[in-house]
Symmetry: D2
Subunit: 104 residues, 4 copies
Amino acid sequence: MAIVDITVIPIGTETPSVSDYVVEIQKVLEANTDKIRYELTPMSTLIEGEMEDLLEVIRQVHEVPFQNGIQRVATNIRIDDRRDKKVKMTDKVNTIQSKLNNHA
Amino acid sequence: MAIVDITVIPIGTETPSVSDYVVEIQKVLEANTDKIRYELTPMSTLIEGEMEDLLEVIRQVHEVPFQNGIQRVATNIRIDDRRDKKVKMTDKVNTIQSKLNNHA
Amino acid sequence: MAIVDITVIPIGTETPSVSDYVVEIQKVLEANTDKIRYELTPMSTLIEGEMEDLLEVIRQVHEVPFQNGIQRVATNIRIDDRRDKKVKMTDKVNTIQSKLNNHA
Amino acid sequence: MAIVDITVIPIGTETPSVSDYVVEIQKVLEANTDKIRYELTPMSTLIEGEMEDLLEVIRQVHEVPFQNGIQRVATNIRIDDRRDKKVKMTDKVNTIQSKLNNHA
């Protein structure tokens, strides 16, 4: 199980807003929830799943701006893949929060 | 006002866990809340503020692993800086959510 | 044709050096030169090819540290995918260089 | 001494080409060569120097698209900062190359 953090930036959009593309990407993610879990943050989309499924979903979301007429896309991906134990998105924030509370 | 998305990876930690460093970084951020707002996600820390303050906070959090004995640090930063209108972290997710609801 | 810029950081290496893993990754890339072209820079590896081939190569290089005993890997990827014209790695630097010379 | 790998993406450019902005960024870097060394790759610009100087140069290059009328900029930065030994950009590629040759 790995977690992917992805931003997909359409280049050549005329306006500074890219939210319409983000909306379309959310729909693609929603169509894949049999294989992955996802979460929208103010800066990116986080996706949790098996590496093979994640790469397939990355391929699909990277295509979204092209399907909407854009000619150039800059996609940025961080992968955090840990195999000594199964870590989920919720666990990670909880671990930090409980360590912070213990220190306080 | 800009939003920064930052990960600080200590290299040469012996163990796969880096949560102790993340805890220390949260303390540094907490000490800067007169100038910036921050939010922990499962994959990174988001920081909102003026560019000058953000760069100073980036400098401080990048130093944290070194102050704890680490000899090499890989820091990754995404900056989203929009000047045609003031966008806050909460606005960005709300915009997508309301567009998704309208489409549904 | 797209260009990918990738860093693969093994976490929990005991020492600050990661060059042995980079060497193994170069061998994986060399074994794929029927489908992709690659270039090592001081900060990352650049790979040029069709998206489907690039995603398969990303999968392979991300696996390298795990195959060498590492339990956690942080991979960072930038994809630049332009479809209005075919852009190669060498073209991009040449374009900037010639524009700089014309301005001088 | 650290090495920074930076991409500055102007959003809302109307056309897919961003090379004019890259040219302007190279001029800003050239004006800072008393403090830093830089190198253009097909995917980003690499900058070598002391952390304080690097952050100041990051601030300057991130401003370039705004100075040219753009209203939103997405900047992506990787910092590799190693303090157990002084590593320069040229050393890093040479280390990998010589290890590859020894293995062959």
